[in-house]
Amino acid sequence: MQRQAEAVERARLAGERIHHFHGGLRLRHNKKISCEVPLERVPLPARLFVPLLQHAGSDLANALVQPGQAVLKGEPIGAYEFPDRGFVHAPTSGTIVAIENGPIAHPGGQAGMRVVIEPDGLERWTTLSPCPNWPGADPQDLLETMRRAGLVGLGGAVFPTSTKVQGAGAAGVHTLILNGAECEPYISCDEMLMREQAGKVIAGARILRRAVGAERAIIAIEDQMGVVEQVLKKALAASDAEHVEVVRVTTIYPEGGERQLIQVLTGLEVPSGGLPQDLGLLVQNVGTAAAAADAVIEGKPLIERVVTVSGNGVKRPRNLVALFGTPISALIEQCGGYEDDVQRLVLGGPMMGYALPTDAAPVIKAANCILALTAKDIQAPQPEMPCIRCGECARVCPAVLLPQTLHWQASNGQWDDARDSGLMDCIECGCCDFVCPSHIPLLDWFRHGKGMVRKRAAEQAAADLARQRFEAREERLARIKQDRKDRIAAKKRQMSESSESKKKVAEALERARKAREARSGGDDKQ
């Protein structure tokens, strides 16, 4: 406990000094190509396909609408079973034409339920309910507004913002860190957002800071983001925001990872299995902050985001503002279409992203980047060789794991050993995979392995639960039996007791009678 209090104190100095984290890679970051033209809006497509599955997990929102029904822009069309997950909203006004299965961009599968909307082109908003007087609003109201707006982390993890902020706030947070370091090569949506909507990002920082009850906010940006720093500082000076700072960090992959960023800013590690709030910190993506500003100040739900469309496989890379449900093919078209030698389409960055089987999949909340890569970029798949134990993977691993050992354990199915060696601390950054001279698909193994460990834990938990239930039932039955026995015994006792007492009563009566007789015999006149 003492140690933790100390760590929380030290974490207050976040951003004073820039620290290092273990491993990591200096990658060619290829960001400029998508930052040359300003943000652009994707024109309203003829159809929007809004997936009901927007989160990384597998929990599906239930449709709140029916085919044929008219919807307004921003109206909820899907609600999650867990209310803290918020809603899925209609990105535009129009008519629901179908709720059907179709391609989605989700790591867990290629297809899922989608609400298909035919836009009417009028963009009629539903009644918006902003949070009045937000700089002085109650944190609970802010959180509720964010929840209703369907706000999730836009950095890629898509965890419900209100839940995260609430949990952190309850644990006590002194510093809010806005993560503007995206550091996967190619992705520049956060950079463009900060460049063009700095005011909104700062307003969002203040809202989130108020919602979590922190004293300070730090906006962390990369040292290679050029004008962003000045733009932010200018916007800061223009606003009446206090205790909001901009800190530059060196661009080393994967410092945009929450835990790495914390290490860079504070020199401290988030305890294994713990959360940043254990250090009194909360990390939010800058995109999330901007969305929080939209939700709280204007009452607008989360229905669109900035998406980087980049890579050598697309003609005119740029950053686009796209409504959720817009097919990726429409974004590519907006960027001049594919180059002839395009080979792979990736959702996310080149290190951690998921290859998409089709561009019919729509933009979702998690879609920070669409990458069209050419054969030259990805290279012919190299044959896998045995591990030569060169240790390169361990040298670059930011989680300080021994990937070769993990791989050995994983490929032998020793999931428990792998878990004990820290598999669950793997942040899936892909650094190890990137440098492996034997071309072992380490990242695939670890993603699969983490799934396996989770599944086994769930099975174990289910088995435990079943056992507990069984034991509880046995115990209950035993208790009932015992109870019955006790009761019978008690009754018997009672019965025997009662016969005894009857006897006593009889005796007493007898005594009384005798006494009476004796008295009446002695003094009849009474």
Binding site: R3, V270, S272, G274, D359, L371, I388, D425, P437, L443
Partner: protein, 354 residues
Amino acid sequence: MKPLPPSREFDTSGAPHFSPDVTVQRVMRDVLLALTPGIAACAWYFGPGVLVQIILAILFALGFEALMLRARGQPLRLYLPDLSAVVTAILFALCLPPLAPWWIALTGMLFAIVIAKHLFGGLGHNVFNPAMVGYVVCLVSFPREMTAWLPPVSLADASIGIGETLRAIFTGAAPGGLGWDAVTQATPLDTLKTGVDHGQTVSEIRSAPIFGDFGGLGWEWIANWFALGGLWLMWRRVISWHVPVATLGSVIALGLVAYVVDPGSSPSPLQHVFSGALVLGAFFIATDPVTGCTSTIGRLWFGAGVGVITLAIRRWGGYPDGVAFAVLIMNMAAPLIDRFTRPRVYGEQVGRND
């Protein structure tokens, strides 16, 4: 409203979606390149026999490699060009006396490639350094042939040409029509050992012409060139600094202590470093990733172990040099060392007590 463009299908694959151009073959190629200056120096000081041994060993190694891959049903096209067998062959050949008979290379490669490498599971699975297994087997089985070293060219009465070299290697005929005893000469380490065992002091022994400025004549320059190659490998990040620094560091530290305490029977630390196979071993043999440690702390222990055991064997063992034995012993200890030197995972608390 814009009509929807037609959709397009793509092939998928796991992340990361790009990777630098590193391959096992490239790593091995770098090692070979780094060995070149040392090999050239060897050939310069000890004649063309060095190169003949290397070529012989490579041919045998590739032959056995192909045979074993075929026998184990592994794709030849994938594994044969990975150059790992070639590296093994060269490291082995560099430990041979230049005029050793051809069947030494054959035996050595048989044990190195067939037994130490493939019977343990092939590339990446071998426990012992194959080159050192081959060398030690030959040294123990054929002590006479394995210790028949030539003097450096500058000390020899007459230089031995390529024809005589080949004849000696393939027919066993000593060059120049002389007896073998007349051509061969003990190595500096040999001389030291027998001298010290006979009660001579190191400075007396060192007045012999086979000694150079700080190591053996010729040997010291070969060591320098190997070190140069090794440094280049470090700069290329093919090997990390830990093993060579720990190996050489422990030899120098321990050698210095012995030298200060007992200068009569202990050679100077530099003498240790610059004779025998120590530099080659420190940069190229003990750094073999497959049979070494993987954690950085583990690598320091591994290197230090190699250094200490080498010195111990040179001082008390039955052989003048001990690098090969030291490496094999540390190979055995490597898994254990790795186990005790696992780095602390990010976020894992040291001595968590709250």
